[in-house]
């Protein structure tokens, strides 16, 4: 119970400071919209085409936008040695990690929920058909991305080149979750159910979330405190 309260405190603190400064979320959202625009030049956005690649397109946008949020997650604490203060605070490293991951997930989800309708308008896609399922897949995949991303944000926080390092490290690690999310989203936007052979993607996504959440919680203390 206390652990959860500590996580929530950290998450609320992160969200509040983000909502006041709007640094990461503004950058992330406008970047996402720019990529959505750029993709329309890469291929002919007819209904047929879009249906085939909608999942891949959306998740690439989300992954790129997410990296901007995740990059800031720990590095924003560097000014005035806030990170030292957080580590010295009477909470465990895993609570700190989980709180930050939670805040990142909510921020990224907000960006995604704005991008989805924009995507629907620009690319003429009907994404509302199976919205509850789509939302659950999105939440699962976003959690996977943020757990990995927050962990790597902590790993690279002290590097001089962290803005360059984080994407190179984090995207290959995210691939299982991204692939699963892309396949499932394409199916859902095309109006097909997730059944039969496609269930393997859902299993992969859930397995990815569970394994990496457990590992991250176990290793957070080591990464943050030493």
């Amino acid at each position: 119970m206390r652990f959860l309260r500590q996580c929530l405190t950290i998450a609320v603190k992160d969200l509040r400071s983000e909502l006041r400064s709007k640094e990461a979320i503004n950058a992330s959202l406008s970047f996402a919209l720019v990529i959505l625009l750029l993709f329309s030049f890469a291929f002919d956005p007819t209904a047929e085409h879009t249906r085939e690649i909608s999942g891949g397109l959306l998740w690439l946008v989300f992954a790129f936008a997410g990296a901007l949020i995740l990059n800031r997650s720990f590095s924003r604490e560097l000014t005035n040695d806030c990170l030292e203060a957080l580590i010295a605070a009477p909470i465990s490293g895993s609570a700190l990690f989980l709180g930050k991951a939670l805040a990142n997930m909510l921020l990224l989800l907000a960006v995604e929920m704005i991008c989805l309708p924009v995507f629907g308008v620009f690319y003429n896609a009907r994404w509302t058909g199976q919205f509850p399922t789509l939302l659950s897949v999105t939440v699962l995949a976003t959690w996977g991305l943020t757990v990995i991303g927050t962990m790597f944000s902590a790993l690279t926080v002290n590097l001089r080149l962290r803005e360059l390092m984080l994407p190179a490290l984090v995207y290959p690690m995210m691939i299982p979750a991204l692939m699963a999310a892309m396949q499932l989203t394409t199916l859902l936007i095309a109006g097909e159910p997730i059944a039969g052979e496609q269930l393997v993607w859902l299993r992969l996504l859930i397995g990815f979330d569970i394994i990496f959440t457990a590992l991250a919680l176990a290793l957070a203390e080591t990464v943050l405190v030493g």
């Binding site: 990995i148 962990m151 790993l155 690279t156 002290n158 590097l159 001089r160 080149l161 390092m165 190179a168 490290l169 290959p172 690690m173 691939i175 299982p176 393997v200 992969l204 397995g207 990815f208 394994i211 990496f212 590992l215 290793l219 080591t222 990464v223 030493g226």
Partner: protein, 233 residues
């Protein structure tokens, strides 16, 4: 000094053994074994393609174990072992990828296809390349060791997911051919035993490379310590 000599001699011995075994294997592969019925001469690439992957997998596993050991015991030599194993593993994984591509060009007519197995092998390679990048970027030795050990553990999970994923999807890549993977009679016993012989040879090569790399890491640490010492003076 005496210990150093012993180590060096063992290393030379292993290297000579590896070279001899490789030469013998090459002789049998090229002169002893006949062409395969359907593929012709190109099938011989499997004697490097498969053992290279096995050796890379052993290296990745070794990196995982030594990374975990480092986090528990905090001894610099486990960190050196993990770094060396990852580098050697990457080299063998590259051999695996490249030989596979050459084979694919001849048999499938294309260098690459986005088949699950190929994709995952490439993903593993990129993940471990990231590990080496991270090591270069961190200057403080103990922070480098700690953070890269954590990354190595994360990386291995994605390798394991990859390993399972191969069984979940139908792939264009040929299925298991070895008896230990339950493929009874898929391959002539003489050819199958050759795969194991060549695996042994590549493992020996890998062990020699690993030892050389570890020695380098150790020297680099000594030099670093001396430099710090000189700086302090």
């Amino acid at each position: 000094m005496k210990e150093n000599n012993f180590r060096r001699n063992t290393l030379y011995g292993l290297a000579v053994l590896a070279a001899l075994l490789l030469a013998r294997n090459l002789h049998v592969i090229l002169r002893g074994l006949p062409d395969e019925e359907e593929q012709g001469a190109i099938y011989r690439i499997i004697f490097f393609h498969l053992p290279a992957f096995f050796t890379a997998a052993v290296c990745y596993l070794l990196a995982l174990v030594s990374s975990a050991l480092y986090l528990v015991k905090r001894k610099a030599r486990y960190d050196a072992l993990a770094a060396a194993a990852t580098e050697v593993g990457l080299a063998f994984a590259a051999v695996n990828l490249i030989t596979g591509m050459i084979w694919a060009r001849i048999i499938w007519g294309i260098w690459w296809t986005w088949d699950a197995r190929l994709t995952w092998a490439l993903v593993c390679w990129l993940v471990y390349a990231g590990y080496l990048m991270l090591r270069r970027a961190i200057e403080d030795p103990s922070e480098r060791a700690r953070n890269s050990a954590v990354l190595s553990i994360f990386a291995f999970v994605s390798v394991a997911l990859t390993w399972k994923a191969i069984e979940w999807w139908r792939t264009q890549h040929p299925g298991p051919v070895l008896r230990i993977r339950g493929a009874e009679g898929a391959m002539d016993p003489a050819m199958e035993s050759m795969i194991y012989w060549n695996w042994l040879a590549l493992l020996l090569v890998g062990a020699v490379l690993l030892a050389v790399r570890m020695r380098q890491e150790q020297m680099a640490r000594e030099i670093d310590a001396l430099r710090r010492h000189a700086h302090a003076l």
